[in-house]
């Protein structure tokens, strides 16, 4: 359980997150969508801090806001006709898509409440407080237990980088 103040902060951040996420998927102007996406990702970083994952919050802002969202904005600017209001931004699956998403939400919430609210249903820790420097712990874990996935991810990143360059390159002929 979080403290009273932290709970208040959580509700605020959660509200901002959800509101900006809704804006992201619903706005017609795709540039504004991208900006709301940035706000959403930034507030998710706030959630991370509430969960005592400061390092991840920093990485979240650095990678998502500084990198991924920036790439999105670049793509928006490189491709024209995105922001005009005449263009239909949603496809014909609007009703079906919202239905599916809503069903998923109900199922997920149901499952969560079933497993988490029941006493003894899920092994919650007695004292949910991460003791120690998460950055330190994370570094240790990444280079001991999880060194193989870590290396694999770096290989994946390089592969993605090269793949992106090859894809986006203009054909010579």
């Amino acid at each position: 359980m979080l403290s009273e103040t932290a709970s208040l902060v959580f509700y605020t951040i959660a509200f901002v997150t959800i509101a900006s996420a809704v804006m992201t998927v619903s706005l017609k102007n795709i540039f504004h969508s991208a900006l709301f996406l940035i706000l959403c990702l930034f507030s998710v970083a706030g959630i991370f801090i509430l969960c005592e994952a400061e390092f991840l919050a920093g990485v979240q802002v650095l990678i998502y806001v500084g990198g991924i969202a920036m790439l999105m904005i670049f793509a928006v600017m490189l491709t024209r006709q995105l922001t005009s209001f005449n263009v239909k931004q949603l496809n014909e699956q609007k009703a079906l898509g919202s239905l599916v998403a809503f069903c998923f939400l109900l199922i997920a919430l149901g499952a969560a409440s079933k497993t988490l609210s029941v006493k003894g249903g899920f092994p919650l820790a007695e004292n949910p407080h991460i003791s120690g420097n998460t950055t330190h712990m994370l570094g240790n874990l990444l280079l001991t237990d999880y060194v193989l996935p870590f290396e694999l991810v770096s290989v994946l990143l390089v592969a993605a980088l090269i793949g992106a360059v090859v894809l986006a390159k203009k054909d010579e002929e």
Partner: protein
């Protein structure tokens, strides 16, 4: 002179008044933020004046001389002038984006000061991700520049914004890598721990990271869009880049944020490489400000010496020179550190 004692006194005072818990935290934080705001506003005004003086004297001129002693109040007068100016928004501008861009650039450069240690114990919040936090929060500058470029609905502004985003993202990579060398040596991301590791002058990380320092200074110059890397606002090509449509107070915010960013990168350089607030005799905050201003002077000196780079040279320099050098620095640091540990540890 001992600011730490002063702050401790104020803390006691607040505690005696009867504030406790959350209220005390809020009051203290608001006071600290307000103080920081004041200090930085004065600092920005001073930096603008100083830049003009340095440029003038390098060019055998005198610079502003009329307002105050040697024009020292000139920036204030300019600020008042800018406040009075009409605040123009272009007709076809994307209004909310246009409005929020200067706000974001200004607030992000203030937020960076949360983890900068001004002196012994004079740090608003000693986060354990200190330097990572600063790097992360300063990326908002890029977003605001892109927003300014896009929101102005002006091709020069857009080009300037795109250029600046491309440049800042490119130079962020060597910048971060050069900082990593120091982080490896200090074994921590926290700014206070990094400063604590360089008590004496021969402990400064600049002696163990000369290449890293060089890369940092170059990348930081590019990061804050200063000559010779000031392509985003190249006056001759882009008239003023992303802030071409801004006037009045919004322009002033961009302008001051630029100078504050310069102070920020200099403060980081001081903290990481030049021993932070460590120094004999004088109070620690004086040492910090003095060293930072020295770095700022070097940046100004560079600005008024070199011509602007071409845009393809700029990118080539970042990716083909600085990045490999930064990697080399990182590898050498790792090997050197390990060897040091084996032999002397």
């Amino acid at each position: 002179m001992e600011l730490e004692k002063l702050f401790a006194f104020f803390g006691d005072l607040l505690a005696q008044i009867g504030l406790t818990g959350v209220a005390l935290t809020v009051v203290v934080n608001v006071l600290v933020a307000a103080m920081l705001l004041g200090v930085l506003a004065v600092m920005a005004l001073f930096l603008v004046w100083w830049e003009r003086k340095v440029s003038a004297h390098i060019q055998d001129r005198l610079g502003p001389m009329r307002v105050g002693w040697h024009g020292s109040l000139q920036t204030l007068a300019d600020g008042v002038k800018l406040l009075q100016k009409e605040d123009i928004t272009p007709t076809n501008a994307d209004r909310p984006v246009f409005f929020w861009a200067p706000v974001i650039v200004y607030s992000s450069c203030f937020m960076a000061y949360v983890t900068i240690p001004w002196g012994k114990g004079l740090i608003p919040a000693d986060l354990n991700i200190g330097i990572l936090y600063i790097i992360a929060i300063t990326t908002f500058t890029v977003i605001s520049l892109l927003m300014a470029g896009w929101g102005s609905n002006n091709k020069w502004a857009l080009l300037g914004g795109m250029r600046s985003a491309a440049q800042i993202i490119s130079y962020e990579v060597p910048l971060t890598l050069s900082i990593l060398g120091v982080v490896m040596l200090a074994g921590s991301l926290s700014m206070q721990t990094i400063v604590a590791g360089q008590q004496e002058i021969w402990n400064w990380y600049i002696w163990r990271q000369p290449l890293g320092f060089l890369i940092y200074i170059i990348a930081a110059t590019a990061e804050v869009n200063r000559t010779p890397f000031d392509l985003p606002e190249a006056e001759q090509e882009l008239v003023a880049g992303f802030n071409v449509e801004y006037s009045g107070m919004k322009f002033a915010m961009f302008f001051l944020a630029e100078f504050l960013n310069m102070f920020t990168v200099s403060a980081i350089a001081t903290t990481l490489f030049l021993g932070g607030w460590n120094g004999p005799i004088l109070p620690s905050w004086m040492w910090f400000i003095g060293k930072t201003l020295a770095v700022v002077f070097v940046l100004m000196w560079i600005r008024w010496t070199y011509p602007r780079l071409r845009v393809d040279h700029l990118m080539e320099f970042a990716w083909k020179w600085l990045l490999p050098l930064a990697f080399l620095n990182l590898v050498l640091t790792g090997i050197g550190y390990e060897l040091w540990q084996r032999i002397f540890g």
